[in-house]
Symmetry: C3
Subunit: 465 residues, 3 copies
């Protein structure tokens, strides 16, 4: 039992010690950060302000977006912080050792661009965490982080370095992968009592906290989709496309939210989640689209799809038929719009005349014929590879998610006795909290001067397995 | 009845379809966003970080500032998001077709500077929304957005292109116009039962949400006032002036808030609202003032004026005598300080020796004698035109606001039966909410397994008309 | 009595008037902000985005971090705003008159770099405010601000201009100084009834508000530590070091928080506060460390130290033995990690080979031999001066804090009758609020149509003296 209680601390300690030695041996800072390097100015020569926009999205945006659950808001925000702190170190290392620099020199270097892409790896895990929120122990979340971030980096590497597909705002390798990965983990861990105790209650204040998350994601989504663009004109296009797509998506969300309600009212969930679908759906093609009209169209379709997903697909297909429980409705915010974004990338490569990109086309489709990489693709072969990319993301996310789900069910990870869990209905209030009511109990102890009875440790109870 | 419930969705749909076709035909992206354009870097060649500051102000700042009403916080933040998504598309189009480029080429192009100025158009409507908060249906808010943003763009065009006045931080065309426009709409829609059911209750948590808004507005106000400056030294002056003005305004607010309280306590409303008056009041002259002292003075006057407005003018003149109900106290945050800003612009053009601006004077007062526009003004004629600008803003905002108020009262817009409204006191809790208690009702349905009784649709009820 | 109630307004008024005249006589804007100056672009030629990051930290970050107290959240955020508005004016002036420019020309000029460093002066006072939260009147806080910001500027001046020590992210002159200064004030003002009425209750919503503060501080801490670096490569190093240090600190915090709990749960206080210790502890050496490994190590030690501080040092040593009450646990977030940072600066100057800094070493250790200042130091003498710096910060903060504490106890500052304070237990709810329940009382008055009884003014009651 004692070992069980300390399992998380034990694993976290191993992680941090290993990271320390790995970074000692293999990591160094980019030349730009070394003394005597003639960097002109941090804001001119690096993407620091862009990185900060994404940093706000990861910690405040996604953190608070998931704070809508009653009794779970603080845990959601905290676990988000913990996992991100783990992943940014792990992703820095993993991407480092997969770099050309590492293969050539035996070490990898860290610059602000690396911080930015590590933050994107956090987003992958955080999205899956949204599916599973309230149903995993910290130990399980920790394992999930390490496994999923590794898998996603390999898939991303394969898509970009082997298939040479374009995924501008990373809607495929981040949003789609993460959503279906999370759903597969949820499916692998399904057990009947979840639906009864589903922590889906929320109160108006939690909803407002959640809107803090929604709004910061809404505001900085143009930065997110622009982050990994190499050439400035593509980056600016990504910004403009995302801005327009999100505006039309938001109007569409309110419109359909009212339509799907019997009395014409708006639904809080749609406002919190579907308004962001436009940013996801424009992702893959954020650097591709060159006409404002097309960005508006993609956003409108995404908003419609997401509301329909929330209103019909999630409750009747995912929950009822497939028995997959999706706490934050991640399928409708990241899954469907991400898939739409992939399909759009096939559509636009066929629809647009490649001539409009001029020489810059190889910056968008790296294996285009006549480019520096000696590619041989035209619009049809590129469309084929883009389609292949979608299939690989779907298959890999579901298969790897299932595997991860089974790993998280292993006896040494999962110690909760389901029978005891069902009996202890009296501890319901704590079941989805990782955190004791510190001050309250402290106050109580002080005022009553009595020792508190031993509470049931919530960390061992709130598991789906 | 069904048609009535779907009125909002119907109008929003028309809007989005029309925007799609208008953008298809007339809009394209700026050359900078097109492939092959040699943009050096988004952060050097565009105002993206400044735009993001303002984006945060519009969605988080103004959204949460209005979240202080009990039972209305979520609606305030959501409607703010909806209206802004509508206006940024509409304002992009309207400013586009009024541009020189459109007259010459038949299309207009979109760059990051255009996103920034569209966000400013949102601010106009959001400020008026603050006056009317809790008293309009979504359909009415949608119409208000389209009408007011169009009017304000025309007024702004007239002031800048015809009168050639200086309104650096746009205190006249944004804050003053919006405040008096909103008050006129409120006056046109006055009906006696408002005061009884005024949704002015708040609880301490709502107040803290509101402070999120206040603080983000406070922090980024220098960016707001600097946004539309063409020359960098004027932009920097706007930043410094706003910073100092807000600091002295905040001290003045606390000082007077304590003085106006019998027991020397601070008033939450003053802290939330009057502390921002310094940013508004320095607006028009943000690029004019060249001495720190003057910025401090303007801020101090603004803080005093705003507290006096909250403490005496709003309750005894606006509400009692003029029967104008101003939910968020917009008159004291935007109206009076905006007016002060206009008057300051007259004062400073007379008080400062024009020689201190050197050649740059024509960047501030575009029709100054000897400039490129072949103007013929000296300080006295410029002061005359600045005064004329104030009068035009006041008259146009009040007249157009009244007209808009009457349009919103038209039978096909306003369907609420006042008698039924008064009888249904039992539904008070929902009256100022656009949103059903989704999760709670869902929970209830699940646990009780009964069909809920048909609730009164709040969307049809919460109208001032 | 009337005079007593108006004491705050009176002092604030004197302050603002004096500032106006001082700025009239001595202040002007930087040449860059003056018309005709050929500034290329605000974002290239100034540190405006960096300044805005710090501005967010000061007003949103620290403001909300302190909002965790039940019944005191709004006051914490408001007083933070008030004091910051006072200090940014005062620090601008004080640093101005201590500048070389002032000595040579008789005036000082204000640029964006000056706004940034004035914001840092706010941080000093805000940290001390965290120790004293809920126990001072506004008048006392106002005096504290003026005294402490002045003292800290003198100490900082002495350390940098006389001792020539390196304190890159200002962990010594900001975090350490402020923490021990606040603790000394708290000690000087100790009276027995504090522990009984300690306002340490919090509810889950307050905790989430507090996380808004924590997260914005977490996100922008790299900017904080980079702010005062002159050379871009040092600034970038500060960013990277802080990022890694905070990541490892966060993992360590969760790990140890779980270990120190009997049932393996996480502690809210640790999550809110200790996760930031990595940013503080890396401060002084943020520009010194050149290997990622070392940043990770410093962060891990800081996290461990801070959790141990919260769990053992604060309750058993500070509170029980030393009778020092520290409302926000400032000692564990700023005190201990700041001290650690100082010690690290001694360690790294000895441990690293000075050759790795090349010519840039004099930008880090200004008095290094062979630099432009004709210094004569090697690693041992620099280590001596760094140690001397720690001692001076510790001694000066404690002595000056004590003196300030006694000044705040002077009869004309402190008017609360302790006896009456103890008797009035009925007013407990208001005791730690500066603000009347404006709306509620208004509502009550309206609905009951009765005049409210005269409440006890909380401003006079909630003092520790």
């Amino acid at each position: 039992m004692a070992l069980q209680r300390r399992q998380f601390s034990f694993l976290a300690c191993i992680f941090q010690v290993v990271i320390f030695f790995l970074f000692s041996k293999f990591a160094k800072y980019s030349e730009k950060a070394m003394p005597s390097y003639d960097l002109k100015k941090v804001f001119n020569d690096t993407d620091y302000p862009l990185f900060q926009d994404i940093h706000v999205m990861v910690f405040v945006g996604f953190g608070f977006l998931m704070a809508f659950l009653k009794r779970y808001g603080f845990s959601a925000v905290s676990v988000n912080l913990l996992l991100s702190a783990v992943i940014i170190q792990w992703a820095l290392f993993l991407r480092g050792v997969m770099s050309k620099e590492f293969r050539e020199t035996g070490y990898f270097s860290i610059s602000i661009a690396d911080l930015m892409i590590s933050d994107l790896s956090c987003v992958v895990v955080i999205i899956s965490m949204g599916v599973l929120l309230g149903r995993l122990t910290p130990t399980q979340f920790l394992l999930l982080s390490l496994l999923e971030s590794s898998f996603s980096i390999f898939v991303e590497f394969y898509l970009f370095e082997q298939l040479h597909i374009n995924d501008g705002g990373r809607a495929l390798v981040i949003h789609t992968f993460a959503a279906y990965f999370g759903l597969a983990v949820s499916k692998a861990g399904y057990s009947s009592h979840i639906m009864d105790t589903g922590p889906d209650g929320s109160i108006s204040h939690s909803e407002l906290f959640s809107m803090i998350g929604t709004l910061f994601l809404w505001i900085f989504f143009p930065s997110f989709n622009a982050a990994e663009q190499d050439i400035p004109n593509a980056r600016m296009r990504a910004i403009l496309n995302t801005y327009l797509s999100m505006a039309s998506c938001t109007v569409m969300t309110f419109l359909l939210s009212s339509l799907t309600d019997k009395y014409g009212r708006f639904n809080m969930i749609h406002v919190q989640s579907s308004t962001l679908a436009g940013g996801v759906a424009v992702g893959t093609v954020a650097n591709v689209i060159v006409y404002p009209r097309d960005a508006i169209l993609v956003g409108a379709i995404a908003g419609a799809l997401s509301v329909v997903g929330h209103a019909y697909i999630s409750p009747s297909i995912l929950e009822k038929k497939l028995k997959i429980y999706d706490t934050c409705g991640v399928h409708n915010l990241h899954g469907l719009p991400g898939l739409l974004s992939g399909i759009m990338s096939v559509f636009f490569v066929l629809y647009y005349d490649p001539a409009i990109y001029g020489k810059d086309i190889e910056k968008i489709y790296p294996y285009w014929k006549g480019g520096r990489r000696n590619g041989d693709r035209d619009k049809y072969t590129q469309a084929y590879y883009q389609s292949l990319g979608i299939i690989i993301v779907m298959v890999s996310s579901i298969v790897l998610g299932y595997i991860t789900g089974f790993i998280l069910r292993l006896p040494w990870v999962h110690k909760v006795n389901e029978k005891s869990y069902k009996d202890k209905h009296i501890h319901f209030d704590n079941e989805f909290q990782f955190l004791p009511k510190y001050w309250n109990s402290l106050e109580l102890r002080r005022s009553l001067n009595v020792r508190l009875e031993e509470p049931v440790s919530p960390m061992r109870e709130d598991s789906i397995y």
